[in-house]
Amino acid sequence: MSPSCMGYTTTHLAWRIILFFLLLVSYCAPASAQRGAMAVPRNLSEMVDEAGVILRGQVVSAKVEPHPDFPALWTVSVTLRVEESLKGAPGNAYSFRQFIWDPRDREDAAGYRPGRDLVLLLVSPSARGLSSPVGLEQGRFQITSDSSGKLYATNGRNNIGLFRGIAARANAKGLSLTPHAVALATVEPQGPIAWNDLRELIQQLAGGK
């Protein structure tokens, strides 16, 4: 190790711990996902098609607990206050249960923290009452805002590939995207995208207005 480490003191330790935590706090976290699974990349159109419920909401609670019928399966039971509903009928509050298999997901509720503002593209609950975001981290967007209050959405892959091929797929499905939506879809995002834009695309890809 560096010789400078030999000058290590309690004072340094305290400052280092403080600095370490403040750095963590200062960094705005995108939505997180589950660990240890391999998924193929999906674009927004594919995810909208597979999702049974699409909503924007705030996490009210996230409880890590065994599945009520299958106790060896750990799950996180998430309840959100629904701010906007884009597909399905989630109501004012929506709850779902997600299977988690990695011990670390049990420690942090797979990243579902109360108060987080999320957009979720969720598969319909299975016969066993389990659901998850389409493509895991791909179908889970963290909403953040800038200093003016404008909202942005970022999924667990930093939105890479999100719009790839969606205009062609919409055409193939007979969906008529507005010129504005087509213009949005031709720009490959890498990083946060305006929530208004993402909402517009989701609504049109879902066959809405």
Binding site: W15, C28, S32, A33, R42, R97, L130
Partner: protein, 473 residues
């Protein structure tokens, strides 16, 4: 010094305030441990600061396989039968076993053991997939067996609430709490990707599927993700630059390039082979094996903030071989042995006896709490001459895709200094401590950092600041 020694109490109070504030602030989810080893022992699990692996002295790793087919078509025709599936699995395990400098062995002990609701037969058949899976997980958690599960038509994955794009996953079941060894783990794979039908569902080539599952087996063995040649994210998917693909670790977090085998490369990249050899070293000559220390050296060090004292965690350090910088490269993430989530006990109801019930965050079960490991790295390399690069972990690699100890990557503070090349011999360790430039200041830049570095550096640093100040006027 007297001034400094009067600080700790105040600092500790400030630390307590910061910790208290953390309880009401939205901190990022953090828990993942290393970029190299996947899990590292903590003060409460295994050996603190030691990567968690299967017991190298108790090889082979015993596993049992689902007796059903690996893939069936939507019409019900068996596409990959059980025998072929078992061979595929064995070959994928052998990709790791055949690393000449790694001491790993697997043994198929036969069909899955009956346990609880699982009474034998294909796991996902008859609508009992989740019940069978639950029973097998329980058995795995008890350390009774390490199951390999086929989901030939995706029904089990669907019942588990997954979307159709999940190829497979690996799971850890049981650890030896004292030694930190993995006692049991499992693997599940979705046969839909190999059912010969690309009309109504996803389809991968055999090599692509094997690569995905072999990646999961890497996790099962205790490997985390690695980030090398991250520039492939900006290249055409499935048509990456050849040299970039050659050096791209199998343990890269996402599928983005053409699969390695089809591209004509070994299934494992140099970084994969180096790290599996580090976790499972060959310590004495054996048939078909090479003693790890005779084939690898190490580049070790610590990444520091500009003060040269404060360690920086989460910086990706890459050693690129001179002459083959894209195709032969090795990496580690600074602070890979230290936890990404140390937790805190300050606000526990009974700090002297913290429990999960009385504390809101006791931190991760994994990773060292030894402060001197916050910024350390150790990169196993083949003998040769290397340049050292530092970079941020890509912002895309979050949560399930994370690389290294931080669940959400922090951008590298400041910029990397220009580093000369280093030569490494087999069995030798070269120390390279790295001080970043232009990082944010510490909280105490006017005292401790300058009091603990040599006078010459302090004077030089002061002179540099004065010059900078004069130039900016």
């Amino acid at each position: 010094m007297g001034h400094r020694s009067s600080h700790p109490n105040n600092l500790q109070k400030f630390a307590a305030i910061v910790f208290s504030a953390l309880l009401v602030l939205p901190i990022p989810a953090i828990a993942r441990v290393p970029g190299g080893p996947r899990d590292v022992g903590s003060p409460t699990l295994g050996v603190s600061g030691v990567p968690m692996t299967w017991n190298p002295t108790a090889m082979p790793i015993h596993y049992r396989v689902d007796p059903g087919p690996m893939a069936i078509s939507p019409s019900g025709t068996v596409v990959i039968d059980n025998a072929a599936g078992r061979t595929r699995v064995q070959n994928m395990f052998n990709t790791w076993v055949n690393v000449p400098t790694a001491s790993i062995a697997f043994q198929n002990d036969g069909q899955l053991l009956s346990s609880g609701a699982y009474t034998g037969g294909p796991v996902s058949s008859g609508g009992n997939g989740v019940a069978n899976f639950n029973a097998l997980i329980a058995s795995c958690n008890n350390g009774e067996q390490s199951p390999v599960i086929f989901d030939p038509n995706g029904n089990l994955f669907s019942d588990l609430g997954f979307s159709a794009d999940i190829i497979g996953f690996a799971f850890s079941c049981a650890f030896d709490p004292a030694a930190g060894h993995i006692k049991a783990a499992g693997l599940a794979m979705n046969g839909v990707f190999q059912d010969g039908n690309s009309t109504n569902n996803f389809e991968l080539t055999a090599n692509e599927f094997n690569q995905a599952i072999t990646h999961e087996i890497g996790h099962l063995l205790g490997l985390d993700h690695s980030q090398i040649n991250v520039e492939v994210l900006n290249e055409t998917p499935l048509h990456c630059n050849t040299a970039d693909d050659e050096g791209l670790p199998l343990m890269f977090p996402v599928l983005i390039c053409q699969d390695r085998v089809t591209a004509g490369f070994p299934a494992l990249a140099p970084d994969d082979m180096a790290w599996i050899s580090r976790l499972y070293p060959v310590t004495s000559p054996a048939s078909g094996k090479t003693v790890t220390n005779s084939a690898y050296g190490t580049i070790s060090g610590t990444v520091y903030f500009s003060d040269g004292i404060t360690a920086a965690q989460g910086v990706n350090v890459i050693a690129r071989q001179v002459g083959n910088p894209r195709s032969i490269a090795f990496s580690a993430v600074s602070g890979y042995l230290f936890t990404g989530n140390p937790g805190q006990k300050v606000t526990c109801k009974d700090p002297a006896n913290p429990t999960p019930a009385t504390c809101s965050n006791l931190g991760s079960s994994f990773g060292s709490r030894t402060a001197s490991q916050i910024g350390t790295f150790d990169i196993p390399v083949t003998p040769g001459t290397y340049t050292i690069e530092l970079e941020s972990i890509n912002a895309n690699f979050v949560g399930g895709s994370s690389v290294g100890p931080l669940f959400v990557p922090n951008p590298m503070p400041g910029t990397a200094p220009t580093l000369g090349s280093v030569s490494v011999r087999a069995g030798a360790t070269v120390d390279v401590n790295i001080t970043l430039r232009g990082t944010p200041q510490r909280f105490d830049p006017f005292e401790s950092s300058e009091l603990t570095v040599g006078d010459e550096l302090w004077l030089w640093d002061r002179q540099e600041r004065l010059l900078t100040r004069a130039e900016t006027r």
